[in-house]
Subunit: 456 residues, 2 copies
């Protein structure tokens, strides 16, 4: 029979078992953290009516979307988790309690040009808090604390959450009489870090903004220093524009409560350059950068919006949310060797090797271990001794139990620690406790870092 | 602005938050159980080249598949998890250790005719053990023990795993000189339970099988009684056909070790009517039925196959696997009210209600709880007292903490148990321990059953 070459599509990440364990642990850590803050898990279909997903329409989205027909139906694969959330909340609003806090970790699809580190199928890990008509500013202080805790639990040591407030920027543009061009200006200054002040000034000039105002914009958003210094600088502009004042007030409030929510002050900073290209943000906006790897860009972004589901309902649903591009983050961490090579990725805690032709005892032992929560695999293939131990080695299983004539007659097991090479006869009770203890200790290791603690 | 009616597609299950928590718990229970047996998690793309997915081709699959083009690429959504597994193992075989044990829980797509309880997007939860050239019979005894433990942990009390062996059936047909029609006969007798003996006899007649042989087939597969009785009945046919003898031997071995693997004898039975329509099974086959709901059909099926990846590689990869159609199972359990209404589905363990205008203390308390693993939500909206407590009620959050002037001045918190209505002032340390204890107890509840223990 002629064979079809097995392959995955370009732009689709597929992991080998060890990497998959790391990736899975990453998802679990995020989900556990999100749950601590009262976010409830959600799962929406990957396929939606194109009309729903493209309600906003236009731009890159429409070009990149996976769209097709099945029978009469015009269908599309979701390209983010926000549009399905908007649809979900609009559809089920009568049955939800607001504020509605949900997390969702799932795959999304974008037919981007294939290139290294870019994916067409990728996981996003989102949290959002949706209010009914109103949503208190405290939620905007809480969101970054979720992110702080999530990254910290993953083992990330050096990162910074950058904050800004869109009202501050918009108010400032109003002050300059430029509010009609606010969206264009936002898109332009968002590039400051990437292209530099001169280029931004040039682009602003193309928008019809004279150099005096252009320079003032750049000077304003470049306000440096620590958080109190930036907040103090904003005070200088107070009292001249309502939007600006409200934004400055919100920013101060968010900053004031973030520490209470558990974010140490050196893990966040107010950065007036942060605009987030998306034009639907209306309040606090966030980006997160790895301090020693700014070139990676933001690994977690989001912000406050005033109207989540305007395409589907008249109900005003303001919210605040943030998203981690998980597949890309994993790729980058893996690629730069920032994942902990000592993190436990073995599929079993112990491999049981029956050394006689009577496997009943080994079967019973496997069951005994499993009943105690120990992940046990019984190796029943007829192979040479070396191949059996080699199997445990290849899978990095830390313990092997041998059950030979001696053990069967004395009612003991021989437990070998493959990391030290030590082997000892003992009761199955003791073996269980040795294995459980060692594995619990291994699981304390952090996913990111370890030896890289210094370099991350 | 004109609104687009928010909706999901027909045949796509979407759950409200409480049901979603149950569904998620179901997945987690399965994944945890699979892990106990040394299965490693896998995640493959939802989209594959059509050529890969349709390598086997033909039949219903091709009609039901979601197939589309993107650019030049002919793409399809996976319709099961077995074909992607075959492709994965063939593609990565050099990097895998055999036997390769993997579990995968993921969505698959089939454009079936929409009807109640049938889904076009649904979860499958699969385990497979893949050998290289050979795979020991012990694996066939172990697989049903995974299923037994998984369903037991979900809370299912009355179910039965039915076993058969394809070699027994094939050998029996050889005995009758009917091996050329084995596949057709298998498909026919698979319907025995559904359509009855007379109809089966009629269909066999249409296959050119005379009534004497037809009746012998039906008599054989209807061999009743408990497991030892059926195995004893097989002994009567021994020594006349090699395939039959091997099958009988395998069946006896599987039965012998299943108890050692922890499956009580009243949870499985040898049933010679089980054929499984799919023609690639070659050894043990499994079905699982809920004893009091036989009309639901098999909730978990699978078996032994000899050549997993023949379309992609020359390497012979025998295996044994089993699959749970999770979305359908959840639908059926939910529909028949077999899920435990008392199972905890609240998104937070405690809701913190600041009763003054100084939320700093409440923020600190939320952080304190979260650091101790308690899922805490701070309610910061400006609402009436009743609305705040109503929010906790609607989400079924079991505890509320009030922080008013009294509490702030005395350094205590007021903890209210919403289930009993009891409220008491106490230290935050005590509150944390009360909440953690109560929630841990609630989580002991089983997902399925409780009051339904008797009826399942």
């Amino acid at each position: 029979m002629e064979k079809i070459k097995p392959r995955t599509l370009s732009g689709f990440m597929e992991l080998l078992p060890e990497e998959q364990q790391l990736f899975r642990r990453m998802i679990q850590t995020l989900e556990d953290t999100y749950s601590l803050y009262g976010f409830t898990p959600l799962d929406t279909p990957l396929i939606e009516a194109s009309e729903i997903l493209l309600a906003k329409g236009g731009g890159e989205t429409e070009k990149q979307i996976y769209r097709f027909t099945k029978g009469d139906a015009d269908l599309s694969l979701r390209f983010d988790l926000t549009v399905p959330l908007a649809r979900y909340v609009a559809q089920h609003s009568a049955e939800l309690a607001f504020p509605f806090r949900r997390f969702q970790v799932g795959k999304v699809y974008r037919g981007e040009r294939a290139q290294r580190g870019r994916f067409r199928e990728f996981y996003q890990a989102d949290i959002d808090i949706i209010g009914d008509e109103k949503l208190d500013i405290m939620n905007e202080a809480e969101i970054p604390s979720v992110i702080y805790r999530a990254f910290t639990r993953l083992g990330l040591k050096r990162f910074r959450i950058r904050l800004n407030n869109r009202k501050v920027l918009n108010g400032f543009f109003e002050l300059l009489g430029l509010s009609d061009r606010a969206a264009d200006i936002l898109r332009t200054i968002d590039k400051l870090e990437k292209i530099g002040a001169d280029k931004v000034l040039e682009l602003l000039r193309e928008l019809g903004i004279d150099d005096a105002k252009g320079e003032e914009i750049i000077r304003f958003i470049s306000t440096g220093g620590d958080t109190p210094a930036v907040l103090a600088a904003l005070e200088a502009y107070r009292g001249r524009n309502e939007t600006f004042d409200l934004g400055a007030e919100e920013l101060a409030t968010v900053v004031r409560y973030m520490e209470g929510f558990g974010v140490p002050s050196d893990f966040f900073t107010v950065d007036l350059t942060i605009a987030r290209g998306l034009d639907y943000y209306t309040g606090t906006v966030y980006e997160t950068v790895m301090t020693d790897h700014p070139e990676i860009g933001s690994i977690c972004s989001g912000g406050r919006y005033d109207n989540l589901a305007e395409y589907y309902t008249d109900r005003k649903l303001p919210g605040v949310g943030i998203s981690i591009g998980l597949t890309r983050l994993f790729f980058v961490l893996n690629d730069r060797k920032l994942l902990n090579p000592a993190y436990p990725v073995f599929p079993s805690d112990v491999l049981i090797l029956p050394m006689t032709d009577a496997p009943a005892c080994a079967v019973g032992l496997a069951t005994y271990f499993r009943e105690r929560g120990i992940r046990a695999q019984l190796y029943s293939e007829k192979k040479k001794f070396k191949a059996k131990v080699g199997y445990a080695d290849k899978l990095r299983i830390p313990f092997v139990v041998f059950l030979g004539e001696d053990e069967l007659s004395s009612g003991t097991v021989s437990l070998k620690d493959l990391r030290t090479g030590e082997q000892q006869a003992m009761s199955k009770e003791l073996a269980a406790s040795v294995i459980a203890g060692a594995v619990a200790a291994l699981k304390q290791r952090s996913l990111i870092g370890a030896d890289e603690t210094i370099s991350i």
